[in-house]
Amino acid sequence: MVATLHIDGAAYSVKEGQNLLQACLSLGFNLPYFCWHPAMHSVGACRQCAVKQFKDEKDTRGKIIMSCMTPATEGMRISIEDPEARAFRAGVIEALMVNHPHDCPVCDEGGECHLQDMTVMTGHVCRRARVRKRTHRNQDMGPFVNHEMNRCIACYRCVRYYRELAGGRDLDVFGWHHHVYFGRQVDGPLESEFSGNLVEVCPTGVFTDKTLKGHYARKWDLQTAPSVCVHCSLGCNTIPGERYGELRRVRNRFNEEVNGYFLCDRGRYGYEYENSDLRLRHPLRLGAEGPRPIPSAEAVSYVAGLLRNGGRVLGIGSPRASLEGNFALRALVGAGRFFIGWPERERALVTTALRLLREGAIRTPCLREVREADAALALGEDVSNTAPMLAFALRQCAMQRKIKVAAAFGIAPWDSDAVRLVGQDEKSPIFIATPCGTRLDDIATRLWRAAPEEIARLGFAVAKALDPDAPEVPDLSDEAKSSARDIAAALREAERPVVVSGTGAGSPAVLEAAGAVAAALRRLGRNVQLSLVLPECNSAGAALLGGGSLAGALSEVRKGQVDTLIILENDLYRRLNAEAADALLAGVKHLMVLDHLANATTARAEVALPCATFAESEGTLVSQEGRAQRFFAVHPARGEVRESWRWLREIGMAAGQSEMAAWQTTDDLIQTLSQEPGLSGVKEAAPGREFRAAGQKIPRQPHRYSGRTAMGADVSVHEPPPPEDRDSPLAFSMEGYQGQPPAALVPRYWAPGWNSDHALNKFQGEVGGAVRGGPAGVRLIEPAADAPARYAAEIPPPFQPAEGQWLVVALHHVFGSEELSAHTPGVAQLAPRPYLGLSPEDAQRCGVGEGDPVELAVGSSVQQLPARIIPGLPRGLLGLPAGLAGVKVVELPAGGRVRSVTGGPP
């Protein structure tokens, strides 16, 4: 419903019932605010957003109201410019500034501070208060967030965000009066894996990015570009910033369909691996004395020589490499000799997931749709560790129930405190079944902890309870039956239920079970969606490209069919156990590896080529939603480093593959790969290199970028021309279009008077809604409208713990399980030490205490680890941390044996 609103005498159409602040901001007015946030809505705490409201045309006195707390109604008359309203707002900010230290020059927030912007906006320029300012002691909050309490204006955003949206319980507000203190009870790392958003949520310099502090640059001195997070399969949108050839930080890039206003800490802070000493910077050739740098031309011609002389070549791509890199490798070696580089089990899991989404009738939701769902079933996947922002979205899903309850009382969804008060302990039905506890358990209506097979059986039982045509689950316990009925009842009631699962449990049956629940709801005509988490940032893209698994590659090698093996951005020693990886690599005469960081695989390479990271190249990743998204180079690659596909192209051309010569730019390559089945949408992910805004390129450097002539003066006093960007419509320069580019190309948020991230308001059609000129990214997978909702065939037998035999399952860790971010110091600091998890009962039976050394044997792989006793882990299960440095690679789940090393055998 549209309402006519009169603002300072002019009429505007706004959404009826929306709060006036949001309406005014959406109309483009500059109205200051603090406690309001588009994702956290209104509490009316700071009094900064005051406007004047008039009864009617004749009313000349009017009254001061808080715009964030007042719904827009038809015919309403307000004034932003009214002198009393202006004076009120100036007074509020003057009061807020009484205790503020005015230390902008040494404050990391300076230059992108909402408090600065709002102070200037209200015109408060002169301090009248002559009082001692209160001061606070700061806390050490761990490696990610810096704390400087004196700058606080007590807007309460931080604790509202942390408690209500992120579900954290270790950050709070203490004291009263003008002594309120926002922090932890004692010093120590913030416990929430979403803590980094405090940096953006806090409108002042209390919470700032600690990693940025380690290599500080002002916002206006950072070169930035639109990018996509590479640290899990969700593909959150980011804005990394660079100076002097080094990444300095990552900020959120708003995509209302994906991450919205927030990122997880793995995504925000994982970036420092790109500055790591492990970076490969030159082509290396392995000789008797170890690897030595060689010129690029020599590397290219050497490898090309191997290919040209009739050498039989094999390519192993990677689910963490871009579509472009994988496609180029496939083109170089030939489709039949291209393998994705994941173990067979992972290939089967990912293809199962993709099949469910492609062939079923069920749509996969974007994260916004998960946030808006009103019931959820999470089957087998610990999303809090494998896809953090999906867990974050499920927390918002839990809130939907409160919003609904409040709506029955006529309370608007933006009236945040009222919603919480009326909603009390109400939460949407959320059911979580995982092998081990998760950090989402607090929002669950009910929890199950069980072996993957049992979780799958529970899922199938839910499907059966929903739809009598679904297959019967044999030997189901009464308890499971009644659980299934409860879940089915809640899902059936819901208007927008979502089923969440993924590859994390390592069980295709779990995926099929999730598919079955969704299919059953679908057959009942419910509007159900199915979200499946995948292992890596481009797992979906890799699966869409096709190609066999490492098992296939190994069998080629065994047959003696391979002279030269080319591995793209893939450390095989993370995917296979060391013996299997050794065997594979030993079977080839020549090994060439392209990667960013030195690892066990590059160490074996006869030739290792240094390739560009996500921040130095352009490319496309396909998220678990099937959304193809383009990331752009933030800064040019230095020295010999270049995009994988460019290395591969050069090698191909030198080896006589003339068709690769046509790929002059990323666009050319994308053009070719878009002809692949299922990938035609890829070229729509972002505007191509020819795109111009008002005839100009989009500058990566802000118009206030400083020191351009000086920054290279230690090398040459002549200012070099800016590096050319052949691939994209963005420029490595300050010159270019200063207005708003299409959503997929927005390199930063800035608008006159709005230096902080809140400048985003000016980029959105409606504040809080989509960025203009969208969409950013394109969905490649949509279900066929007429596809039947089918059930999978096999239902696994019940899990029975056997004496002396355990089921080892993978336990994922947001910090430590992902390869690249683990090379970031802060992430490494928060990662767990290697361990083997046992249930308290099993530990007792084996006479094992916390930290005692135990020996785990899975097949022929034996390793010693300290025991960790995990309450809630079902009996008969052992938990082995996934992907953690210092833990041997084993394909899980798998049967295993455990032995106490100090005591006798259990």
């Binding site: 203490f174 004291g175 203190y181 009870q185």
Partner: protein
Amino acid sequence: MLTESEKEEIAEEVKRAGHARAACVDALRIVQRRRGWVCDEALREVAALVDMTPAELDSVATFYSLIYRKPVGRHVILLCDSVVCWVMGHETALEHLTRRLGITLGETTADGRFTILPTACLGACDRAPAMMVDEEIHGDLTPEKIDRILEQYR
């Protein structure tokens, strides 16, 4: 370490409230009644009993001026600083107390006898300026009267 009887009394309170968190202030008072204040260790233990994190409970504890998170003297003087008392001579009373005891708001005398804290309204506006010592309210304060009152508390 909380004593068994403290734990029992808190458990009673939790049962009565029907909702563990709802008993948090009472639980803190139970501890304070016995110890005079709430130390960090006790706070952490109480938090576990009322299903809160230490941060959540401390947020409540530090909000209420009558929950003491630092040791206080044997007698606590709560001096009202609300508008009526302020108009009626709160400042004179504070000056006198400060001179007499050698401490100001938020401090404790060296012999551990008195602590002075501000409070907003004792509900004794008709007898302003007023203060409360331990559980007792004293109104119409004058320097002489204050001296007499202090003598009652050893």
